[in-house]
């Protein structure tokens, strides 16, 4: 029997669902825990075991649920489940090939009777080996010599990108926290409220302020362009007055003149 022993701290998770304890799962706990804590630990155990993270905001409330191991009745749900689980299955197979140098062939037919297959080194070679009941050690050694280099490179690349994705997600969450702070602050600063909640007076003020800020940004960009013309020469076409809707020629000329006068 496989015995799981957890000594380190487990992450704190919200337990919104009742998880039925499984007799086959044996866990050793250091001390007697309350029912709530037991559920909490089991939830955490499953989360750690599956390496899944509930980063997505949509699923925060629903979370991961255990489903009965029977055929899914609804057609659309079945199709979605097939797509997700097939990808996960192929991922596990790929990892096993990488870690242990095994040769694996998998064939699955979708609910629409389309074949999906994964194989290492290739589906054909694995099937041929299986059907012919032959060792083919020579072919095996030749193929194994060729492919590990490319796979190793791709695995490293994939690991690198996935770690970058994790970092960006953390940064995004920090930005979300900042926005929540801003939402709290918008009780005082009316201009940070959503546009739908502003009245006509506030909208007019906002429009005026944004137009002034836009002029400032264009002026600053022009200054940058003048200061580092050799470096930012390729951005010349961007340091132009943005097109105004229903703006008379007079103010435009005045603005251009003011902008030019500010630069020189």
């Amino acid at each position: 029997m496989y015995v799981t022993k957890y000594k380190n701290k487990l992450p704190t998770l919200q337990v919104d669902l009742i998880i039925m304890p499984h007799q086959t799962q044996a866990c050793i706990y250091k001390q007697t825990l309350s029912l709530h804590q037991i559920f909490q630990q089991r939830k955490a155990t499953k989360t750690l075991h599956t390496k899944k993270t509930m980063m997505s905001k949509k699923k925060e409330s629903i979370g991961r649920q255990k489903i009965p191991m029977v055929k899914i009745k609804k057609e659309s749900h079945r199709q979605v489940t097939f797509s997700k689980r097939r990808a996960g299955l192929f991922k596990k197979a790929s990892e096993l090939c990488t870690l242990c140098g095994a040769e694996i062939g998998i064939i699955v037919f979708s609910p629409a009777k389309k074949p999906f297959s994964f194989g290492h080194p290739s589906v054909e070679s694995v099937l041929d080996r299986y059907v012919s009941r032959n060792n083919m050690s020579l072919a095996q050694s030749q193929q194994l010599q060729g492919s590990p280099a490319a796979s190793c490179e791709l695995n490293m690349q994939l690991t690198h990108i996935l770690s970058e994705v994790e970092e960006e997600k953390k940064k995004g969450q920090a930005m979300e926290e900042m926005r929540k702070e801003s939402v709290r602050r918008s009780m005082i600063n009316w201009w940070e409220k959503p546009v739908e909640e502003m009245n006509m007076v506030q909208l007019q003020e906002m429009k005026y302020a944004l137009e002034e800020l836009r002029k400032t940004v264009v002026t600053n960009m022009a200054s940058f362009n003048e200061a580092k013309d050799d470096v930012f020469g390729f951005l010349d076409n961007k340091v132009t007055v943005p097109p105004y809707v229903n703006m008379p020629s007079g103010p435009s000329n005045i603005y251009n003149f003011a902008n030019g006068n500010g630069c020189f």
């Binding site: 380190n8 290492h120 900042m178 944004l210 800020l213 600053n220 960009m221």
Partner: protein, 321 residues
């Protein structure tokens, strides 16, 4: 023993590799079983081990034979259409992860620039040392936000017009009040010009503290915006002014307390605006001179409406210092 992220590389330790193989093989078989059960499909898996000549199969030898023969009877193109080897599968995953990373970065950038935009609106632009790329992104965010604001203004304007048309009593009441704002608006600039000429600090402070005059300062700015929006069509321009005055007065009469609160808010924004104008004082003066030199009637109207803003800037500068 703490859990660490498994490095995706060939395990060099022989016993460790064997143990990992056994565990993961069982897990893989379980996953194939779950997939076939949940989706009611036929599936098979063949795993050759470096340690054993006989492969591990799921569901059974006869099951695998049946699936393989079914697979082989399909046309060649159908077989290869959805077939991937490890390299192909890894490339697919890399492409998907790259797209996810790009989208995540774009979202983070948008949130960051929104925060920077709001900080700049209250005069904290010096906090961020913006380079050319930051300024470009900030300009883009301002454009997008300005579009939202304009769209919302159009929606409110249309609904305001409908309300005006449906309520004849309100229209009559508004008509009764129309002469008053014109008179007050005409008087305010003259008073301001006189105060600037006298350069009296006491008068400036009184002018700043007086809420009624403060209200007038904001209203001409709105008129200025209206004039700029539709300069060519005079009739439409008059209608625009009429609508704006009507909305302003209807709101004031309906909610006097709310109007006072909004006045305070506008006052706060007014201070921020002055702080913003103070940084670019000289360009404002140049614009003022250009307006004075113009002899066009419309430009003259713009010039007269612009005077309060410039004068208020000077006044506030005196008051702050």
């Amino acid at each position: 023993m703490t859990r660490k992220k498994v490095k995706l590389a060939y395990i060099s330790n022989d016993s460790s590799r064997k143990a990992t193989f056994k565990k993961r093989k069982k897990g893989l078989m379980k996953k194939v079983h779950e997939l076939s059960t949940l989706c009611g499909i036929t599936a098979c898996a063949i795993i050759y081990s470096p340690y054993d000549t006989n492969p591990e199969v799921w569901p059974s030898n006869s099951g695998v034979q049946r699936v393989v023969s079914e697979f082989r009877t399909l046309p060649e193109m159908d077989q290869h259409k959805k077939m991937v080897d490890q390299e192909g599968f890894l490339k697919q995953r890399i492409a998907k992860a790259t797209e996810t990373l790009r989208r995540q970065r774009k979202d983070s950038r948008e949130l960051e620039m929104t925060e920077v935009m709001f900080q700049c609106l209250i005069g904290n632009m010096e906090m961020f040392h913006l380079n050319i790329v930051d300024l470009n992104d900030l300009g883009y965010m301002i454009e997008q936000y300005l579009k939202d604001v304009n769209r919302r203004i159009e929606i409110l304007r249309n609904s305001g017009t409908e309300i005006g048309e449906s309520s004849s009593v309100a229209v009559a009441a508004s008509e009764g009040n129309i002469p008053m704002p014109n008179l007050v608006a005409t008087t305010a600039p003259t008073t301001t010009i006189y105060e600037v000429g006298s350069s009296s600090s006491f008068a400036a402070v009184a002018n700043f503290v007086n809420p009624i005059d403060l209200q007038q300062f904001r209203h001409p700015a709105a008129q200025h915006v209206g004039l700029n929006e539709q300069p060519q069509n005079l009739n439409l321009n008059l209608n625009q002014n009429y609508n704006q005055n009507q909305e302003w007065f209807m709101e004031m009469m309906n909610h006097p307390e709310q109007m006072r609160y909004q006045t305070e808010q506008m006052g706060y924004q007014f201070m921020d605006d002055n702080h913003h104008n103070h940084i670019h004082h000289q360009p404002q003066e140049h614009q003022h001179q250009i307006h004075d030199e113009s002899s066009n009637a419309l430009d003259a109207a713009n010039s007269s409406s612009i005077i309060p803003v410039t004068s208020s800037s000077i006044t506030n500068k005196t008051w702050f210092h």
